[in-house]
């Protein structure tokens, strides 16, 4: 008897995702829209940011609202390399990543002694501390921030003025790096340790997992990748000041995109960003000019609808649709 089920739904979804990813490099050749490219760049950036957060928040189960600090350190690393020292951003990007990882370990060590809500509250406070400190710290530009000078565009300076293609390919590179690292972690022993800590710290420890080391390691990797995203953000906007990067607003975006897409899954951050960012940008473009925050209200209502109807995130919605299709398929087969 021949088995007609060649491929199951999960595999089909993965193949679809891979096909979309494979086509992404071709987007600049078919998209004639400058704003459309901007939206796609933000989707890739925010997907990468959310994936960076997903390491500690999703896989390791430690909900951090402090990631805008690491994002900001990365942004300032690149920004200072260009604006303060007049060099290329690359050294600053690397320094920002290392510094973010070090800062993450230093501030997380005492915070990890707290659990659950208390850990989350502590990370809230850290954002405020860094925001205030950077606002008055003249060496990093204080409240005036850092404004990029007009210098030669191109990959060396990692900036383009009149086209978006360069930024798009860099965002795609960033996305591949961050998702690649998380994919590798997922199947590596460290990934299993992280999930073990998330499911039950005491149980994991009883099996010989050093939960503190795992959490600190996850936080360091997560912070370094958040900093990498921050350095792209500053190169894209050509300006950085503390409210732009080190704010609770920015921290919330890390969390919101991941939770909306599906926390603790590889595809979740991409799905979250792919829905949330176009929603944010297009509601603003269509209705922002009306004033009165109509765009923000519509944006907010849509998020509430998604969260209430499907707490597991968009990945839960897709799973629901998959099940519904399978059920219908089964019914059709039974009826034949």
């Amino acid at each position: 008897m021949m088995n007609t089920k060649v491929i199951d739904l999960k595999d089909a979804l993965w193949l679809l995702l891979l096909a979309v990813l494979a086509l992404l490099p071709l987007v600049p050749f078919v998209s004639g829209s400058f704003f459309g490219m901007h939206v796609l760049i933000l989707v890739l950036l925010f997907a990468s940011m959310a994936q960076a957060w997903n390491i500690i928040g999703g896989y390791c189960g430690q909900v951090s609202f402090g990631h805008s600090v690491f994002f900001g350190i990365g942004a300032y690393g690149a920004g200072m390399a260009v604006v303060t020292y007049g060099g290329l951003p690359w050294g600053g990007i690397l320094a920002g990543m290392v510094l973010a990882a070090v800062v993450a370990v230093i501030i997380s060590y005492p915070c990890f002694k707290l659990t659950g809500h208390y850990f989350a509250i502590a990370t809230f406070a850290i954002v405020e501390i860094f925001n205030r400190a950077f606002l008055v710290w003249e060496w990093v530009g204080g409240a005036l921030g850092l404004d990029y000078p007009v210098i030669e565009e191109g990959l060396a300076n990692l900036m383009w003025y009149e086209t978006k293609e360069g930024y798009y390919y860099c965002a795609l590179g960033l996305f591949v790096i961050v998702f690649g690292i998380v994919r590798w972690l997922e199947s590596h022993r460290f990934g299993y340790y992280m999930r073990a800590v998330r499911e039950g710290q005491e149980t994991a420890e009883s099996l010989g997992v050093n939960s503190t080391a795992v959490k600190l390691g996850a936080m360091a990797i997560s912070a370094a990748l958040a900093a990498l995203c921050g350095s792209f953000f500053v190169q894209y906007n050509l300006r950085v000041d503390p409210p732009m990067v080190m704010s609770l607003d920015m921290s919330m975006k890390f969390v919101l995109v991941t939770i909306l897409g599906g926390s603790g899954t590889l595809a979740g951050p991409l799905l979250g960003a792919a829905v949330l960012i176009p929603l944010q940008e297009y509601t603003r473009a269509f209705w922002g000019g009306l004033g009165g925050g109509v765009d923000l209200m519509i944006f907010g209502v849509l998020i509430i609808v998604i969260v209430i109807k499907e707490p597991a995130g968009i990945i839960g919605i897709l799973a629901g649709i998959g099940k519904s299709l399978a059920r219908r398929g089964g019914t059709a087969q039974g009826g034949a």
């Binding site: 004639g32 005036l144 921030g145 297009y282 922002g288 968009i314 649709i321």
Partner: protein, 426 residues
């Protein structure tokens, strides 16, 4: 919830997500009308802590466009007496919300120029937003008219397509110090020390730096330097710092709702210096002044316009009538009127250049002195970097809910109440 409706919601959300994902790939924007339209983009903070100020700036530009596009013989400003520009061109506005955020403002500037194909931009109220948004316009060789952002740094960048109407915080600081000297001379005020309170932003930080420079040059000692985060929910420690240093005079760079909070917190702390002079919007905002009621009295600030300037600027009244119809009766303030002037001067330059070539219009803007009955000095003249050197303001004081003209003396319509009346004597 039934399985059927839950399934519907899932499909609906998936369909919406797919639409949103696909839409970036299409270049579709609103279709451009083929003939005789000049699209101008506006970028203002229509949401966020200074939303009301941003909405009024937007209404001011709309008012100017209504005057340019239609015949208004009763209005005595250039271009009011004819319809449109360049033999029949009409201006169409495309509005954007910066939310007061530099990255959003930059993205909106790019969208307006690339997607909506606007010919020029007007905005962006917040100095920190005007900076990156005008940078985008400059790179694309498009004109950026900046009505009310006051950071002096904006016109120190040597840009070719950037034009700012408002006085800078540098010139305002010098004026403020002149007021202190005048009081010391004429009223033996004994003002020696100064406190500066400012929001920690591009605008506030610059204003404070200029204040400190001007104070040092004028021989005053700065004894309190108090920054705060914009959108603050509590200013107790900031006011206590001021109270502890007890300066004779305070200069404030405090916007929007923060201004109300600051004034109320000083009342709670039962403290006032002899004189308070403010930069920009918080003090100038007629709605905030009304909300504060008697508590707003005797504070001072610089202003390019308030309804009490009517006798100096008779052309404003009929224009303000149109403006009020868009703002629910709120009159112009010093910031919003500058945005209307920005639009009117740009239109005059297009008309004079007889061209829609941004280079030619920018050159024309720079080379001429423009009649501007909505400006205090009656003229607008730009110099290298784009600053309007004819920008003038008057120091006013709120007395009985009205912005009374105090300084320069030759323009005054009331005597200063000095020192400010203490809270318990009001």
């Amino acid at each position: 919830m039934s399985r059927g409706s839950r399934s519907f919601v899932r499909w609906f959300i998936l369909a919406a997500a797919l639409c949103l994902l696909v839409s970036p790939l299409t270049g579709a924007g609103p279709a451009l009308a083929a003939e005789k339209i000049i699209k101008i983009g506006t970028i203002f903070p229509l949401t966020g802590p200074v939303a009301t100020a941003g909405q009024r700036c937007q209404a001011a530009v709309q008012t100017a466009v209504e005057i340019i596009n239609n015949k208004h013989p009763e209005i005595k400003v250039p271009l009011a007496n004819k319809e449109g520009l360049l033999d029949g061109y009409k201006i169409v506005l495309v509005h954007a919300d910066s939310q007061g955020k530099p990255d959003v403002g930059k993205a909106e500037a790019e969208r307006l120029l690339n997607q909506e194909k606007v010919w020029a931009l007007i905005g962006a109220y917040n100095s920190s937003v005007s900076k990156p948004a005008s940078f985008v316009a400059e790179r694309m060789k498009r004109i950026f008219m900046c009505g009310s952002s006051s950071s002096a740094a904006l016109t120190q960048r040597d840009m070719k397509y950037f034009f700012r109407l408002a006085p800078t915080d540098a010139t305002e600081s010098v004026d403020f110090v002149e007021v202190l000297k005048w009081l010391n001379k004429t009223k033996k005020a004994g003002i020696k020390t100064l406190g500066v309170i400012y929001e920690n932003s591009e605008f506030g930080k610059h204003a404070a730096e200029e204040a400190k420079k001007a104070a040092a040059a004028g021989g005053f000692k700065v004894v309190a330097d108090v920054p705060f985060s914009p959108g603050a929910t509590n200013l107790n420690s900031e006011v206590q710092t001021l109270k502890g240093s007890n300066p004779d005079a305070v200069f404030g760079a405090v916007l929007g709702a923060d201004y109300s909070l600051w004034v109320k917190t000083m009342k709670q702390a039962k403290w006032l210096p002899k004189i308070v002079i403010n930069y920009c919007s918080g003090y100038q905002d007629p709605v905030i002044a009304k909300q504060l009621g008697p508590d707003a009295e005797y504070f001072m600030g610089s202003s390019g316009y308030s309804p009490q300037f009517a006798s100096l600027m008779p052309a404003v009244a009929p224009v303000e009538k149109i403006f009020k119809s868009k703002t629910g009766g709120v009159p112009f303030d010093g910031n919003s009127i500058q945005e209307a002037v920005a639009m009117l001067v740009l239109a005059q330059a297009i008309e004079k250049a007889r061209s829609l070539d941004p280079d030619k219009v920018a050159k024309t803007l720079m080379e001429n002195t423009w009649d501007s009955p909505l400006s205090l000095g009656g003229k607008v003249k730009f110099v290298k970097g784009g600053q309007n050197v004819q920008a003038k303001s008057i120091i006013t004081q709120l007395q009985n809910g009205q912005y009374k003209r105090i300084y320069p003396e030759k323009m005054a319509d009331a005597k200063i109440v000095f020192p400010m009346k203490p809270w318990d004597k009001r």
